[in-house]
Subunit: 204 residues, 2 copies
C-alpha cells in the first residue's frame, strides 16, 4: 500500500529511502517521519557523514578494503601480521568479522563480490588479477577463502582454488558445519550433510 502525502519533498525522501535494502513502503514512511522531526543539526551531521564517505574513503592498493589512509591500510602496513598468509573475503566489512574471531593474523584480500553467472559477474569484475599478481611475487604460502557458504561462494572458491593450485599454493576454505551452540534438530540437511562430510576425528 503506497500512501501519498501530497508533500513533494516528503514523497521524494520516501522514494529515496525505499531504494535502501530491507526498507519497504511502511519503514520508509516511518523513517521519513522520524527524520522530519529530527533537529536541523542532526540532519546536518547525517548529510556530512554521507558526503564524507564519498570524498574520504578509497580502496587500499594492497588488499582493496575501504580505507582513509594515504597509502596502504592499517592491516597491510602492520609488521605484526604474517605476510605469507592471505585471507580472501568478499566484502571489506567481512574483515572486521574475521578480526573479531581473533583466529587470523595474516593479511587480507577483498574480492568486492563473488563470481555469479546469474548476475553476470565475471573474474575481471573482481580483484582476482591483483590477487594473482601477489601470488606471482612468490611470498605467499597459503590462501584461506573466507567466502559465504552459498552457490556464488562455491563457484568463486573453485575458480580461485584452481588458479592457486597452478601456482602450488595451499588453498583452504572455512569449514562448513553446525554453528557453535547449534541444535541438530534445527539444522538444514545441506549443513548437516557438509558437517558429516567434513567430520573431525575426536582425539583423546
Amino acid at each position: 500500500m503506497i500512501y501519498k502525502h501530497h508533500v513533494p519533498s516528503l514523497d521524494r525522501l520516501i522514494h529515496e529511502l525505499k531504494k535502501w535494502p530491507g526498507v519497504g513502503s511502511r519503514s520508509a514512511n516511518r523513517l521519513a517521519n522520524w527524520l522530519l522531526k529530527m533537529p536541523q543539526a542532526e540532519i546536518q551531521q547525517l548529510i556530512q557523514a554521507l558526503k564524507d564517505i564519498k570524498t574520504n574513503i578509497k580502496k587500499c592498493p594492497g588488499c582493496f578494503t575501504f580505507t582513509e589512509e594515504e597509502e596502504l591500510c592499517r592491516l597491510c602496513r602492520s609488521s605484526h601480521r604474517k605476510a605469507d598468509l592471505i585471507c580472501v573475503v568478499e566484502e571489506p566489512f567481512d574483515i572486521a568479522r574475521v578480526e573479531a574471531s581473533g583466529k587470523f593474523k595474516g593479511r587480507y584480500h577483498v574480492l568486492h563480490g563473488t563470481l555469479s553467472p546469474l548476475h553476470n559477474v565475471k573474474p575481471e569484475d573482481l580483484t582476482i588479477k591483483p590477487l594473482l599478481e601477489k601470488i606471482k611475487q612468490g611470498q605467499i604460502k597459503e590462501v584461506i577463502l573466507a567466502l559465504d557458504a552459498d552457490m556464488e561462494g562455491d563457484i568463486t572458491a573453485l575458480y580461485i582454488g584452481k588458479l592457486m593450485k597452478d601456482h602450488n599454493i595451499k588453498v583452504s576454505r572455512l569449514a562448513h558445519g553446525i554453528p557453535f551452540g547449534g541444535d541438530i534438530n534445527y539444522i538444514d540437511e545441506q549443513t548437516l550433510g557438509r558437517a558429516l562430510e567434513n567430520r573431525v576425528e575426536v582425539v583423546i
Copy 2:
C-alpha cells in the same frame, strides 16, 4: 557486537544510522556498506532530499499537518470537505491512512503527539489550544478522535473529550474491535473485551 572498521568516515556514518528507529548495529553496517557502493549521483539525490525536507516543509496553519503550500494545505483549502467535522490525529502521516479508508470527508487536526505522563508530554506541548480556538468559532459540530488504541491514546481522548463536552460538541472515537479478517482465536483479550463491549446489533 560492535565491529570497528578503523575507517573514521565509515564509523561516523554507522554511528548516525544507528540512531534511526529500528536500525541496530548489524543493519547500520549493512546500510553503510550499501551506501558506500552507491553511485555519487544517487547519494547526492539522497542528500538533496534530506536538505529539502528541512527547508521546504512547514506546518499548515489550519490543521498543523506537514505541507509545502504557501498558506493552508490542500485538505484545508478544499471546498469539497465538510467544515463542521474534524478528525483529530496524532501525526501528519496518519492523515494519509484515514484518507486511504475513503470514509472521511471532513477536515483534520494534527496533535503532533499524545499526552503522556510517562514521557512528560503536557497539553501545551500538543496543538490542543488551536483546536479549542477552532471549536470556539462555533462552526464545528463533531470531533472524531482517530488516536492509537494505547494508554496515551486513551488519556488524550479523555482529556480532549472533556474539553469538547464543555463546548457541547459531539465527540467520538474510532471503534475498537476485531480487525477485518481477524480470527477470534488469535485476538488478545483486551481487543476481544472491547469488541464485546462495543458490540453492534445485527440488522436484518
